[in-house]
Amino acid sequence: MHIVDGALAVPVLAVGAALTVAGVALGLKRMDYDHLPQVGVLSAAFFIASYIHLPIGFSSVHLILNGLIGLALGWAAFPALLVALFLQAVFFGFGGFLVLGVNAVNIALPAVMVYYLCGHGISASSPRVAAIWGAIGGAGSIVLTTIMVAFSLMLSGEAFLLAAKATFVAHIPVMIVEGGVTAAAVLLLRKVKPEFLHIKDETDYA
């Protein structure tokens, strides 16, 4: 998912950076500072997730986790993901510094969208319904990210459909794994720490 330096046109980079600044500002404003440690932990999880490649067949995938981060953090996903992406560029050489803004928008905006689309679903009283919404959130955030990556490439001159297809097909395994992981995480969090997912009512989920 990390676009590298040199792949995008300058206006795209500038727009991406501007959107990221706006998103981070909004995220910092809306963030519940009592939950700052939670933001840090999820940021660290994202930082590591891209580095751990799970072998599948003769290829490998890695988790992106932006769906889960979006569900848990909402707009605070922007600062959390920006910090993690910056550190990935520093330590692992993923992506680059010029494309940091575009990468942050491509990964954080779907997270925020999932927060609004599936946030209600995961607090449903039936665990099964909640798990399904979690899976939709996990897989959906990857779908949205691939579309945004393809869109950034299109604005820089690549054919949209071609880029979208290539990116989408390559990420189908990630979508499935991510959907499963997010659904499992939602189920677990509902039981042990519902406030992590902003589930406030005292329904008995057991």
Binding site: H2, Y33, A44, Y51, G57, S60, L87, F92, L153, I176
Partner: protein
């Protein structure tokens, strides 16, 4: 019930990964090296997958003038025959925002090619080869060059792989930065709260 679902998900993932071209979010890596006037290069991903067969590599000079187009073979390798002793730039686009630019500096190419700006080729030959080579010696030189290139190749590959690998220090360092940032955030927040409280207390006194 859920277990069955997970299992199915994993199974589908495993099946898909056999048919899916791996262009996941890994870093693009590659290298170019000269063997005589042949420039050999390779492109692939940091997880060991090589570029798809037929990936176009654009060869340009420093000014961006196209010198030629080559395509990779099934192992991600390509060969370009240099006609001039100038810096060669290689640009590969592996789709989904994975691009790579590599440079082969002019001084790695043999002296007898035309071009180059440091010294006129006559003068260069006078320095490096005071004696005129006979045909046999030239053939021998080429053989040595080829043999050395063959021996060095695995080392080059290993070094490139080594460079891509982040160490445990990097991972722990990154997490440390994230937690440190959180610490700063919490400290700053605490200070704001204390200021508010003290100003309220002062108002109460006054």
């Amino acid at each position: 019930m859920h277990k069955g679902l997970w299992l199915k998900g994993w199974l589908i993932t495993a099946l898909l990964s056999f048919s899916v071209p791996s262009a996941l979010a890994h870093n693009v890596v590659g290298g170019v090296y000269a063997i005589g006037n042949q420039i050999e290069g390779e492109v692939g991903f940091s997880n060991g997958d090589m570029a798809a067969e037929g990936t176009q590599i654009t060869v340009t000079d420093r000014q961006g003038n196209t010198l030629g187009l080559v395509a990779t073979d099934s192992e991600g390798l390509f060969v370009f025959t240099a006609a001039q002793r100038i810096d060669h730039q290689f640009f590969a686009n592996l789709s989904s925002g994975h691009v790579l630019e590599m440079v082969l500096p002019a001084d790695e190419l043999p002296d007898d090619l035309p071009g180059g700006d440091a010294l006129p080729s006559e003068a260069k030959r006078a320095i490096s080869t005071p004696l005129a080579y006979s045909g046999d010696q030239i053939a021998l030189q080429q053989m040595i060059e080829k043999a050395v290139a063959k021996q060095v190749k695995p080392l080059r590959k290993e070094i490139a792989e080594y460079k891509e690998k982040a160490s445990l220090q990097d991972i722990i360092g990154g997490i440390g930065y994230i937690f440190g940032l959180c610490g700063i955030g919490i400290w700053w927040r605490q200070r704001q709260l204390e200021k508010q409280q003290s100003s309220i207390a002062k108002q109460g006194q006054g």
